[in-house]
Structures are given as structure tokens and as C-alpha cells.
């Protein structure tokens, strides 16, 4: 059976690799943080702590799956499922290599944005159904943050779309053969990067789950595998954002021929993942209202100007 877009092998491979990568990231992140913070990190289980993730998984699978008696059971149970589903579905349109992918969609970029919007429901429902004050604060913050950062996340991408003339991710990658979009769309890249961190709510924008302020935020009441799904979904989201950056701004699978395209893709994605982890180690967390005003008063106008300038340049060079 040959690898081609949409084949069962391709789909299974992508699903498996994405989930395993996300799980491995738990260990990788802890090791990297340990390295950057002058400490060891988990190094006891397996070779250099590589089996730590197995130990974590065994623990999380065998934990009591507890639903608080005061919670709204239905939404409490489906909330972690939603986030897991939408981030995994987003991978359907990501072109990993010329012959690896799930679907070749003409609305790829829009599909990812739509899925990201649905993700906000998971966080909101999880927080609201918990009937916990910390979870409520967390989900309020999450809703505000995700909804507002989606706006300029979308706008920041439009420059790339305009340059390519297509929403199709494969076409976006192929059109970068002469030069990556990071150069003409640098501002768009920076805005997308920031919005992406906010979207996957990781430090410095982990405001919905700011541990020092509101314990665990929207997933305070979650335990066992339901918590595990939120947890893994965050890492899948991290892989997703890194993949999107790679596809949209760094030429996707393109690279010198001595390595196969999918390896180039993986290397680029890993660099961004490491960058996100480094950011977590280095940067403090802004306040919730500061994040909002930064987004609406600075990033939004900037992304609009970026789009406008891109449009003008495209029109004038035609």
C-alpha cells in the first residue's frame, strides 16, 4: 500500500504520530525546562527519562474518573472531548509532505480557523459546567481571550492567502518554492505567533489556567483521563500551531533534497515547539486586561495595516 493523500495508511499514520508526539512532548517539555532551569527534570524512568510518558499515562488512565456531584454532568463530560476532536480534526488539512495528508481541501485555512473557534466551546463548557468559582473565572478569561485573539489570528493569515491566491494549504506551500512567506509577511508571522500562543493558552498567555492566580482555571475540577484529554489537547494544539507556522510561513515540507520532505517538516515543527517551550521558561504572564488591550489596541490595527499594505503591493505589481 502506498502513501497517498487520504489513504487509510496516511490517516492512521498522522493520527498516531500526532498523538504520540503530543504525549512525548510532555516528557520533552519537562526535560527541556529542566535543562534551561539548571535542574535535571524527569530522568529516572527509562533511558534519560524517555519512559516517563508511559508512567504518566499509566497513572492517568488508572486514576478514578470522578465527576463532581455538583457539576452539570453532560457538558462536563463532553467538554474535554470537544477540544480533543477539534484539534485532531484540524490536522486533516495540514500538508505534511507532498504525499502525506488527510484531505486536500480548498478551504484549508478557513477550516483550521473554524475548528479553533469551536475549541473555545470546550473551555467554556468545561469551566461553566464545573460549578466552581475558579473554573468560572478561568472559562470567562478563556472565552474572552480566545474570541478576541481569533480575530487577528485570522486577519494575520490573510496576507499569505492573498499572496498565494488560495486557501488551500498545499498550494500555499508550493507557492513558497521561490521564497518563504516569512520574509514578505514578517508582521503577519509575528502576529500569528502571538495569537497562536494565546489560542493554545500556554505561558505567557496561559491566563485561563494561570496556576498562581486561579489554581488550574477551567479544568480545576477535572481529574483522571478527562483532565488528561485537556492536557494532551494542549500539546496537540502546540503541535498544530507549530505545523501551521511551518506551512504558512516557513515553506512546509520544502527544503534541500538530501532529506525527505516529511523530515524537513518535522524539523521545522520541532524548532517551533522548542521555541514555545523556551518562551514558557522565560516570559512572565501579563494581566488579563493587559492582554486584551494589547490585542485590540495594538495587534488588531497592526494586522489590518499589514493586510492593507500587502493588498496594495499585490495590486500595484500586477
Amino acid at each position: 500500500m502506498e502513501l497517498e493523500i487520504g489513504s487509510a495508511l496516511s490517516i492512521g499514520l498522522i493520527l498516531g504520530v500526532v498523538i504520540i508526539t503530543a504525549a512525548l512532548l510532555i516528557t520533552v517539555e519537562r526535560r527541556l525546562l529542566g535543562f534551561w532551569q539548571e535542574r535535571l527534570g524527569p530522568n529516572r524512568v527509562g533511558w534519560f527519562g524517555s519512559l516517563q510518558v508511559v508512567a504518566d499515562m499509566i497513572k492517568i488512565f488508572t486514576k478514578e474518573d470522578w465527576v463532581p456531584p455538583f457539576a452539570d454532568k453532560f457538558s462536563f463530560v463532553i467538554a474535554p472531548g470537544i477540544i480533543m476532536t477539534v484539534v485532531l480534526l484540524s490536522f486533516a488539512v495540514i500538508p505534511f509532505a507532498p504525499n502525506i495528508g488527510v484531505i486536500d481541501s480548498n478551504i484549508g485555512v478557513l477550516f483550521v480557523l473554524a475548528m479553533a473557534s469551536l475549541g473555545a466551546y470546550s473551555v467554556m463548557l468545561g469551566g461553566l459546567s464545573s460549578d466552581n468559582k475558579y473554573a468560572l473565572l478561568g472559562s470567562l478569561r478563556a472565552a474572552a481571550q480566545m474570541v478576541s485573539y481569533e480575530v487577528f489570528m485570522g486577519i494575520s493569515l490573510l496576507g499569505v492567502v492573498a499572496l498565494t491566491g488560495s486557501f488551500n494549504m498545499r498550494e500555499i506551500v508550493e507557492s513558497q518554492a521561490d521564497g518563504w512567506y516569512i520574509i514578505p509577511q514578517f508582521i503577519g508571522f509575528v502576529i500569528f505567533l502571538i495569537a497562536g500562543v494565546a489560542e493554545s493558552h500556554r505561558l505567557p498567555f496561559d491566563i485561563p489556567e494561570a496556576e498562581q492566580e486561579i489554581c488550574a482555571g477551567y479544568h480545576t475540577e477535572y481529574s483522571g483521563m478527562k483532565f488528561g484529554m485537556f492536557f494532551v489537547a494542549e500539546y496537540i494544539g502546540l503541535v498544530l500551531i507549530s505545523s501551521l507556522i511551518t506551512v504558512l510561513f516557513f515553506g512546509g515540507w520544502l527544503g534541500p533534497a538530501f532529506l525527505p520532505p516529511v523530515i524537513w517538516f518535522a524539523i521545522k515543527v520541532f524548532v517551533f515547539i522548542a521555541f514555545f517551550i523556551l518562551m514558557r521558561a522565560a516570559v512572565p504572564r501579563p494581566r488579563y486586561d493587559q492582554l486584551m488591550s494589547y490585542g485590540w489596541l495594538f495587534l488588531l490595527p497592526l494586522s489590518l495595516v499589514n493586510l492593507l499594505v500587502t493588498g496594495v503591493i499585490i495590486l500595484s505589481t500586477q
Binding site: 539548571e38 468560572l136 498562581q212 489554581c215 512572565p284 504572564r285 488579563y288
Partner: protein, 592 residues
């Protein structure tokens, strides 16, 4: 010589003040009590208390800006009262003057049958918690106090723990058990009821949310609860609730011998280590009349400053962490670890060495200590500079902490704020500089200040203090006096052993002092130091026995926590966390 001159000026100042008070109050003053540490002490009836305190605060020279402490003494079993007015419970008010650089003590006698005294919250808001604690511990009723509830003991507690009839040990009580219904009862008692604190559940436009921050919360630095009233994420009001870390340290002081209490002091501000020993042993030495050798003083200063750096490092790291910066704490723990290694090689223990002794320190400095201290002086400064880049100069951190939780010097006086929190408001006042103890007058160091009094400034002041501490340690290293590591005095503990095999008198004294512990002559003394978190003082009352009659520990954090609602109103939850982080407290220090 300088110090002597200052002492004289202080004495003449206080005698002028006493004359003025004698003139103004005449026979309303019950008595004047002589004290061994020289703090003027007046006895006054409760009906004249407010007038006297008001005079002291507003119209006398010098003015006493700060209410330093309120406590009480259960006098019913005390044998040596030395002509003090008849009293069964004495309420003690300790005032501090920063402009005049002196202290004042006012005592009010009360009888067990009528334990009522007016509240002084109208003069100093800081009195609120002190009066609640005194009610909690002694059952003294402060008339007019708005919320005279239990503060340190659980709300369901029976009795008042520091009264002499209250048992001090678990073995004197029934075995502890917690049945389900009793647990339920305790739980219910802890429920926060906004009405008790005069809070509304809703305003005209919105319904408030009451959020229990703690006792278990990632950033309340121990077991500390703040019930906050929220309008959205905006803080309307807050009620700090303490006592979850209470161990009865003051009560323990009444059953331990003078010597065996030293390790307990280590655990008051558990980040301060031997810093806590210092005011305690100084107060005992004051009562016993022990002069410690210069070498002892310098060794003490050196270790105390090392602990100051350790404590500030932990503060610095957690401060950054609470603002969301995850890494600095780990770097700072590396330094802290190295300092602890040095401390361990000197004291034999790391966090709680309990190494100071009455009249000296436990051992001489070990061979090769110079190299290790030199190592500390070499590795620290570049690291502190690096942290400046990482934390203090970070833009996001600045935006999170500048202008948040600010107060001015007057507010600091009103609420009893000392230490870095006071210096951050622009007042250049450091106990080590202004009232040198343990030989600090011989050291050259600066008192860092800041001007805005906000979270950022409190942090910046502490960072600069670490540099100054290093300067002091350097001077200790360069000028360590030779001589003995304990005083030549019969009450030095453990006593000298050299002559015990030569004359029977020394042998008897040695035997008694080691088996029972030293007998400290009847007296009272307050000794304060510039602790890691502010001014820490021990007020000891000796009744001429082997243990203390009353041990009062005034800790800075207690006063600092009381101010949280005042400075955090109108800010957001995230700011509250920054404010809490900037205060630098440990709950063991608050609850004792």
C-alpha cells in the same frame, strides 16, 4: 563612641518626653516602671488610655507614629512584680517613633472580673488584629471593636490559650479525635459569611462573587486564606484569615527552659534561620546582663546576613513566579543551596541551625571558613546582576507590578509596616543603621530605598539589600575579631566547663545550669532586630525561674498581612497575587 552619644541623646529625649507627660497627665499616670532595656514604660488606667496614646501619637516630642505591638500578660501567677500596680491581666502597648528613633510602652492593669478596655482602632487601624489576637489569647474584651472574633485560634476553640490555666501540652488534654459530625461543625464554622464583615452580597448593578483564596492555594505562601469579594475580576474587598499555621510558639516559651527554646525561634520565620535566634538571645542577655565578646557579635552578624540573602532569594524567585515567570526561582534555588552549604559547614544544619546561644554561639568557626565565605562573595554578585536583567528589567513584569499595591509612608505607619515595605515608601530607616545592635555600628553599608511604595519597589529594595548584605559579609570576613565564641558569664549557656573540675562552686553551677537550665533574674526586656521581613522583636518577661513567664513574639508579617485589603481594593485578582507576593511573608511568621 558614636553609639554612646546616640544613647545619651535618646535618654535625654525620653526624659524630656516623660516630664511633658508627667505635667500633662499628673496623677492620671499610675506608675513609671524602670526597664532594663531603657524603654520608658508608663502605667495608666484604661479610662485615660486613649488620651495618653493620642498625646503620644499627635502632640508630644518626639511623636510616636507607629503602633508596634499590643499584647497582654497574665500576671496572676507572677511572683516578682517589683512594685508594679496591682493587676491580673496587663495589656501592653508598644509604640515606635521613627522621627525620634525611640520606643514607648504603655501598660494598663485589668482585673479578671472586669476584662474590658477601649479599642484604639480609631488611632491606629493596625490595632485591629492585635486586639483580636489579645482577645483570642487572653479573653480581654476590647470595647467598640468592630469584629472581635477569633483570629489565630480556630473559631470553635474553647478557652483562651495564653491564660495560665489553659493547658500547654496535648497530654494535659483529652486525646484528640475528629468524628464526622465534629468535622462538619468545624467546616461550617469556617464558612465565610459576608454579613459578619459588613459586606453586601450585591450592589445596584451586579451580584458579587465571594471567592475563597486559600487556605490551600498555589500562591498564598503557606496555609493562608483570603476571602475576596469580587465584582467580575475586580476586587471590592477582602478579609484575610490567618491561624492555619499556629503552633502556639508563645505558649511553648512558657514551658521550655530559656536555653531549649532557642530552636523553636528558628521556626518562627522559617526562612530566617538563626536570624530568629538573635532577638531572643539578645533579650535574654539583656536581662541577664551578659556582654558578649566582639567575635560573637561579628559571627552572628555574618550568619544573619547570609540568612537574609537566602530569604530574599526565595522571595525574589517566588515573586517572579507569582507574576508568571517560571524559571528564576530555580536559578535562585541554586544560589540558596550554595549558601546553605556554607551555613551547614559552619552551623551543622541548613535551614534551622538554632546555633546562637545565650551569651555566644554554639561553636567556634570551623577551620577554612574564610575560603567558603570568600567563595560566596565571588559567585553571588554576577548572579544578582543577571537576575536584574531577567526579572527587574523585564517589561511585562514591570507592567504587572508598577503602580500596583502602592502605599505611602503614613499608611505604612498606620498599619505597622516595617522592613523593606517601609523603605520602599521612601523612608530611609533600617534598624541596623538607626539603632545598631550586635555591632552593626562598625559596618559600612547603605540603606536602599525606593519612592513609589508599590510591588515593584518592594522587590527592588530587597534586591539591593542582598548586595548590601554581601558588603557586610565581606567586612565580617576581613575584620573577624579574634577572641572567644562565648561570654565569660555564669549564665552563659551552656556554661564554661574548664574550671568545673577545680572548684565545687563552679561544678554545682555548671550542673544546675545544664540540667535545669539557667535561671534568669526577674526582669522584662524587648529586643528588636531588622529581620528578613521587617522588624522582629521578642518581649520576654522573666519571673526568676528556668523558663520565661511570658514570651511575646512580634513578627513583621502579622502586621503586613493585615494591610492586604487596604492596598488591594479596586485591583484585579492577578494584582492581588502580585501584592501578596511582594509582601514577603511566611505563615509560620504570622501565626507563630
Amino acid at each position: 563612641m558614636e553609639a554612646t552619644a546616640e544613647t545619651i541623646s535618646m535618654n535625654s529625649q525620653s526624659s524630656g518626653l516623660l516630664e511633658q507627660l508627667r505635667r500633662d497627665f499628673g496623677d492620671r499616670i499610675l506608675a513609671e516602671q524602670a526597664t532594663c532595656e531603657g524603654i520608658p514604660t508608663l502605667w495608666v488606667d484604661r479610662q485615660h488610655l486613649l488620651a495618653l496614646l493620642k498625646t503620644l501619637r499627635d502632640d508630644c516630642s518626639p511623636r510616636f507614629e507607629m503602633l508596634f505591638d499590643i499584647t497582654a500578660i497574665d500576671e496572676r501567677l507572677r511572683k516578682h512584680r517589683g512594685g508594679q500596680p496591682a493587676s491580673e491581666f496587663t495589656v501592653v502597648y508598644h509604640l515606635m517613633s521613627f522621627s525620634g528613633n525611640c520606643d514607648f510602652r504603655v501598660k494598663v492593669p485589668l482585673m479578671d472580673a472586669d476584662l474590658n478596655i477601649p479599642t484604639i482602632i480609631s488611632l491606629w487601624p493596625a490595632a485591629n488584629w492585635y486586639e483580636r489576637e489579645t482577645w483570642d489569647m487572653f479573653g480581654i474584651n476590647f470595647e467598640g471593636h468592630p469584629n472581635l472574633y477569633r483570629l489565630v485560634l480556630p473559631p470553635t476553640w474553647k478557652g483562651h490559650a495564653l491564660r495560665k490555666e489553659h493547658p500547654a501540652r496535648a497530654t494535659e488534654m483529652e486525646p484528640f479525635s475528629l468524628e464526622d459530625d465534629a468535622a462538619e461543625y468545624e467546616q461550617q464554622a469556617l464558612l465565610f459569611k459576608p454579613e459578619e464583615w459588613g459586606m453586601k452580597r450585591a450592589s445596584d448593578s451586579s451580584e458579587f462573587m465571594f471567592l475563597n483564596l486559600g487556605p490551600n492555594h498555589p500562591s498564598v505562601h503557606g496555609a493562608f486564606r483570603i476571602a475576596v469579594q469580587l465584582d467580575g475580576e475586580i476586587l471590592v474587598d477582602a478579609v484575610p484569615d490567618i491561624g492555619y499555621h499556629h503552633r502556639g510558639a508563645e505558649k511553648m516559651g512558657e514551658r521550655q527552659s530559656w536555653h531549649t527554646y532557642i530552636p523553636y525561634t528558628d521556626r518562627i520565620d522559617y526562612l530566617g534561620g538563626v536570624m530568629n535566634n538573635l532577638p531572643y538571645v539578645m533579650a535574654v542577655e539583656q536581662m541577664a546582663g551578659i556582654q558578649v565578646p566582639e567575635r560573637v557579635k561579628t559571627i552572628r552578624v555574618m550568619l544573619v546576613e547570609m540568612f537574609r540573602i537566602c530569604s530574599h532569594l526565595l522571595f525574589y524567585g517566588t515573586f517572579a513566579q507569582d507574576v508568571g515567570q517560571l524559571s528564576p526561582i530555580f536559578y535562585m534555588f541554586v544560589e540558596r543551596e550554595r549558601i546553605f552549604n556554607i551555613i551547614e559547614s559552619i552551623c551543622g544544619a541548613r535551614m534551622h541551625p538554632g546555633w546562637f546561644r545565650i551569651g555566644g554561639v554554639a561553636q567556634n568557626l570551623p577551620q577554612g571558613w574564610e575560603e567558603r565565605v570568600k567563595e560566596l562573595l565571588d559567585f553571588m554578585p554576577p548572579r544578582i546582576d543577571e537576575y536584574d536583567k531577567m526579572v527587574l528589567n523585564n517589561g511585562i513584569l514591570k507592567r504587572r507590578t508598577q503602580g500596583v499595591g502602592a502605599y505611602n509612608t503614613q499608611q505604612a505607619y498606620d498599619w505597622g509596616i516595617t522592613g523593606a515595605g517601609l523603605r520602599a515608601t521612601g523612608l530611609e530607616w533600617d534598624y541596623r543603621k538607626n539603632r545598631p545592635y550586635s555591632g552593626y555600628e562598625n559596618f559600612e553599608f547603605d540603606v536602599p530605598i525606593a519612592v513609589n511604595g508599590d510591588c515593584y519597589d518592594r522587590c527592588a529594595v530587597r534586591v539591593e539589600e542582598m548586595r548590601q548584605s554581601l558588603r557586610i559579609i565581606k567586612q565580617c570576613l576581613d575584620h573577624m575579631p579574634s577572641g572567644d565564641y562565648k561570654a565569660d558569664h555564669p549564665l552563659t549557656t551552656p556554661p564554661r566547663k574548664e574550671k568545673t573540675m577545680q572548684d565545687i562552686e563552679t561544678l554545682i553551677n555548671h550542673f544546675l545550669s545544664v540540667s535545669w537550665g539557667p535561671v534568669i533574674p526577674p526582669n522584662e526586656a524587648t529586643m528588636a532586630i531588622e529581620g528578613t521581613k521587617g522588624i522582629n522583636s521578642y518581649y520576654l518577661v522573666s519571673d526568676g525561674s528556668t523558663s520565661s513567664y511570658r514570651t511575646r513574639i512580634r513578627t513583621p508579617s502579622f502586621a503586613h498581612l493585615q494591610m492586604i485589603p487596604e492596598i488591594s481594593r479596586g485591583f484585579m485578582v492577578a494584582d492581588l497575587i502580585a501584592i501578596i507576593a511582594s509582601i514577603d511573608f511566611v505563615m509560620a511568621d504570622v501565626d507563630r
